[in-house]
């Protein structure tokens, strides 16, 4: 073989490897779904999908076991809604400040600070929440335990904020300069321009930011497991302990028997989580593309 043909062969191989690497991202998504199904599907031989999703009792180790995940869904929902109520207004406001108002150096500093907040491992945030926020909430409301849905909401709000701030900030920065110049030229103040023109133009990106923030909260595991008290019951108040979908998997996988119904049920919860986050991310991506156009 001549050197030239050898080189061509090498390039052909490399280019096939590059194509294959592109395909791998798709394969991994499919594999994740497939393996969740493979391990989780056997649950539905003895259990209907309706009983699983809407059953009110999660007693995986009683006899006979009950695998209704409604209490877990309610737990996740309550914690997520609470976290969204806290993090969305604060996150959007911070994004507006950083993108439109903060001067150059402060802006860079704030962005770095938010990136560092995003980087703190969830187990560290859970540890701090458990040790500082928990006792504080216990004393404030005078309740038997400080590990409640509210504690989870506050903790997770701080974990959602970096996502919300950084994506919303990108969307705000991407609003064309002419919009601002036109508004200022018409005599609007900086705040009127920011609020009525820029914020409105960046709305699709902000929606995406909020959705991705919520996606992060729903999927969060360690922090939420450490601060919400882990009681798999349908909560009647935000000051009660709850158990989320994610925490259930993390807490119970160790004690389940491989191949058993409990094991399959935990994978089935994984399917539910996968589908929820898949939908949230897909829709958020659509909004992001709309905002870029």
């Amino acid at each position: 073989m001549t050197p030239n043909r050898l080189r061509k062969l090498k390039e052909w191989l490399i280019e096939k490897a590059i194509l294959l690497s592109g395909v791998f991202s798709v394969i991994f998504v499919l594999l994740i779904f497939l393996f969740l199904l493979r391990e989780g599907f056997s649950l539905f031989r003895g259990e209907s999908v309706g009983d699983f999703l809407f059953g009110k009792s999660w007693y995986p180790i009683s006899d006979p076991p009950r695998f209704g995940i409604l209490p877990l869904i309610m737990g996740s929902l309550l914690v997520t809604l609470g976290a969204a109520a806290i993090s969305v207004p604060i996150g959007i406001a911070a994004a507006l400040y950083i993108a439109e108002i903060a001067p150059g150096r402060l802006k860079e500093g704030l962005k770095a600070g938010i990136e560092l907040l995003a980087a703190i491992p969830s187990v560290v945030i859970g540890f701090i929440g458990m040790i500082t926020l928990g006792p504080w909430i216990k004393n404030l409301f005078n309740i038997p335990t400080g590990l409640t849905a509210l504690t989870g909401s506050v903790t997770l709000a701080f974990m959602a904020m970096p996502t919300i701030v950084s994506i919303a900030e990108d969307a705000i920065t991407a609003v064309p300069r002419q919009y601002r110049e036109a508004a200022i030229a018409m005599g609007a103040t900086k705040w009127q321009t920011t609020w009525r023109i820029v914020a409105r133009a960046a709305r699709p990106g902000m929606v995406a930011a909020v959705m991705l923030g919520i996606g992060r909260v729903i999927g969060e595991t360690m922090a939420v497991m450490m601060v919400t008290g882990n009681a798999a019951m349908i909560p009647s108040s935000i000051l009660q302990p709850v158990r989320t979908l994610t925490a259930t998997i993390a807490a119970e996988m160790g004690e389940s028997v491989q191949g058993g119904a409990h094991y399959a049920a935990l994978f089935a919860i994984g399917i539910v989580l996968f589908v929820i986050t898949f939908l949230i991310n897909g829709v958020a991506d659509l909004y992001l593309h709309r905002s870029r156009r």
């Binding site: 390039e11 280019e15 490897a17 590059i18 194509l19 690497s21 592109g22 395909v23 791998f24 991202s25 798709v26 991994f28 998504v29 594999l31 393996f35 969740l36 493979r38 391990e39 604060i90 996150g91 406001a93 911070a94 507006l96 400040y97 903060a102 860079e108 704030l110 938010i114 560092l116 907040l117 980087a119 703190i120 491992p121 187990v123 560290v124 945030i125 859970g126 540890f127 701090i128 040790i131 904020m161 103040t189 705040w191 009127q192 999927g219 969060e220 595991t221 360690m222 994610t246 998997i249 993390a250 996988m253 160790g254 935990l266 994978f267 989580l273 986050t277 898949f278 991310n281 991506d285």
Partner: protein
Amino acid sequence: MSARLAQKIAFAVLLLATLLVVFPVIIILGIIVAKGASAISWEFLFSMPRDGMTAGGIFPAILGTLYLVLGAVLFAVPLGVLAAVYLVEYSSDNWFSRLVKLAIVNLAGVPSVVYGLFGLGIFVTFFRFGASILSGSLTLGIMILPVIITSAREALESVPRHFRTVSLSLGASHWQTIRHSVLPHALPGILTGMILGLGRAAGETAPILFTVAAFYLPRLPQSVFDQTMALPYHLYVISTQVPGIAENVRYGTALVLLTLVLLLNLAAILLRSRFRRKKKW
């Protein structure tokens, strides 16, 4: 209310919100440093745990985390960079490249505990690697793939078009152009993504819960098929599962983990801003 007063109030509110986002970083750092610094010693960092983790050090957890993140990066960086090369240099805007991009977005959104389930299903059970460093590293590697791909894509896209056209006009092949005129200029950006991926993998607990992490294993792993302790899981264990551990040991472990993760992220931030400032085009 005058427009000017409204503006003053609005800006004050926005500033307050921003401080609310940034302050927790300072508070968390402050608490952990204040209460954990007293635990840090040579013995704490470099010796084995003793007496059911109430005494001794956390060396196996530190080393285990280093093994895991190195394994993850070894797996994810080549795959991620090549995938980014595919998206930026080879694909046109067709249904397939959109599918790949959608897959990356979704990989980034999959909850970490679901990665744990996936790793348990495929690496531990199906491939029979067992709970091992190999299973844990591969699981973490797939999890950080989106981080690596996104950074590498940005880095490749920031290399000007004409670098490629000049190289191609001189008779270089497509791959030669990428290898010699594009990749070298994208290297700092690729490195940034790699460091961010390291930081992310080092801090994650849920993906390693069922794939590798050992509750208490006071010896060092001998091969990639061994289980190992890891820092984030160790922090979880000693703060929730084992009563009677001195408070400063818990804070000290959190401090070591936080220092490792934040230093990696700080390095990435600095590298990126330097790279942006030094760009010559």
